[in-house]
Amino acid sequence: MRVRSPGFSSRTSPSAHALVGRKDLPVPAWLFAWGASLVLIISFALLSVAWTTARLQKEDWRPTPRWFSRVVLNPLTQVICGLVGVFLLFLVLYAGFRGIEDPTHNFSIIFVFYTFWLGMVVLSVLLGDVFRAFNPWRAIGRVVSGGFRLVAGQSAPTPFRYPEWLGRWPAVLGVLLFIWLELIAGGGIAPTPHKVAVATVIYTTITFVCMALFGVEEWIGRGEAFNAYFGMFSQLGPLERRDDRVGLRKFLTGAPQWALVPGAAALVLTSIAVTSFDGAQEGVLSGAITWTFDRCSDAGLSLPNSFRVANTIWMLITLAAVSGLYWLGVAGMHTVRGSPAVKQLGRSFAHSLIPIALAYLVAHYFSAFLYQEQAQFTYILSDPLGHGSDLFGTAGGGINYGIVSSNTVWYVQVGALVVGHVVALTLAHDRALAVYDNVRHASRSQYFMLAVMVGFTCFGLFLLSQANA
């Protein structure tokens, strides 16, 4: 495979070069209409059958048998998981710096943007906070601080306490920058493996510095972006580790506590916004982005920089719009008697958007994930650098784009959005019963949340019906 650097010579907005050979057809109009009407029908039906005392606010966590916790959490497993994480981090760097420039044939691109970023979300929902075990920065940090203890005879000092107000804000910034790297940094083409490796070095450095300043577990548990992001999705699932025990809780009961930290609402809104932006970049927003792009290049910016500026502006506008919709709903809820302050109210309901964030991810990346994982486990596995090696005899494999039909893709997409909507409403309703002191006020507050959720879900459906890249 030759090194190619896709370029653009016409004066049109370059679109992010698709890594994927097959893009999805837009969801047909009739299916869009069905999804949207289903959302409305279900929403009102839910209001009429919903329970009147909060049921999901207590976690009711029960430990699994001791032997199970021992198998999962013993030091050997921890060391193995840590080593796997560190090895993969090293491989991302090595493939990024030494591998082929073609993003479709380099481990660092396929692994970081598909297997890791999307696959870890799936694992987190199903199995709990597994990323923590594989987190390479945590593993290295623990080895270093353990070494320090051995040599110095005392724990490494941590000069700063993690400030409460910082909450999940570092993760918000991290997610924004990660998506910026994926969709915008390349200036109209996919980011090169080299760029991804450089970004990894920068992020690794920042994480080491912060772990030294705030303490390893403290930074990993609160400030580290990937841990916070995947941790958010793990709140939906039933499995959770506490100290040295793995336990089960009722579905969805982890989420309510998650949102009470500063920046939590911003994190889930950012996740929804960046996924929307990815869907809208070549669809709904393409006209607006092209217009901005032209203004930038008229002003004398180079084409890649015009692309970066135009897309950054529109990504931030998307973020503002998504956040605005949520906070508008919160402001509406605030008019109901007995409401707490707006800020507190916004935090109280932020967790109810996690299912919508997950649904957006499934809707937008389901097919691309299926394709790229075939690449990951065939030619990328055997030839991670793209230099022609064949480590496991699978280098000749390719992507079978026929693995799912358009119909299947559409049903999965619409189904994910509808299910996400129902779960989100359930969480919000239950929270309202806990926040308001009587059922009538709680129900009234939920008209506003219902409008927000219907807005998000129909917006998601609309994006899919416009362009489904």
């Binding site: 009739w30 209409a33 069905w34 009407s37």
Partner: protein
Amino acid sequence: MQSRAARLGVIAAVVVAAIVVFVVLKSNNSDKSSNTAKGVQTLHVGSSGNPVGGVKTLTYNKGDQVQLRVILAVPEEAVHVHGYEIEKPAAKSPVDFSFPANLDGVFEVEVHRINHTEGPIAELHVNP
């Protein structure tokens, strides 16, 4: 409205409504077969390696025969149909393609230029 029977009733009503709406909408669906491309479609690529008249969208129904003739002003390296993964050398013009559209979805037809850049010249929309 809190009895078990009432709840089941509402849920049943939702399911029925969902199915009815689905059937009605689906049977009214007639966006198939409308403006599909037939015969040989000619795509011109200018000397800058860009498609003359912009990137064309060609719509097919699954199973149709896709017939493309790519006429290049200057020799390029290859023309590549994404997804179907058909790549043909483009040193000589025209480059002809003929294959059945047996994969639904959206696929780019791309020119790989001699200067190692690449760009789309058409987009195939294959309806299921």
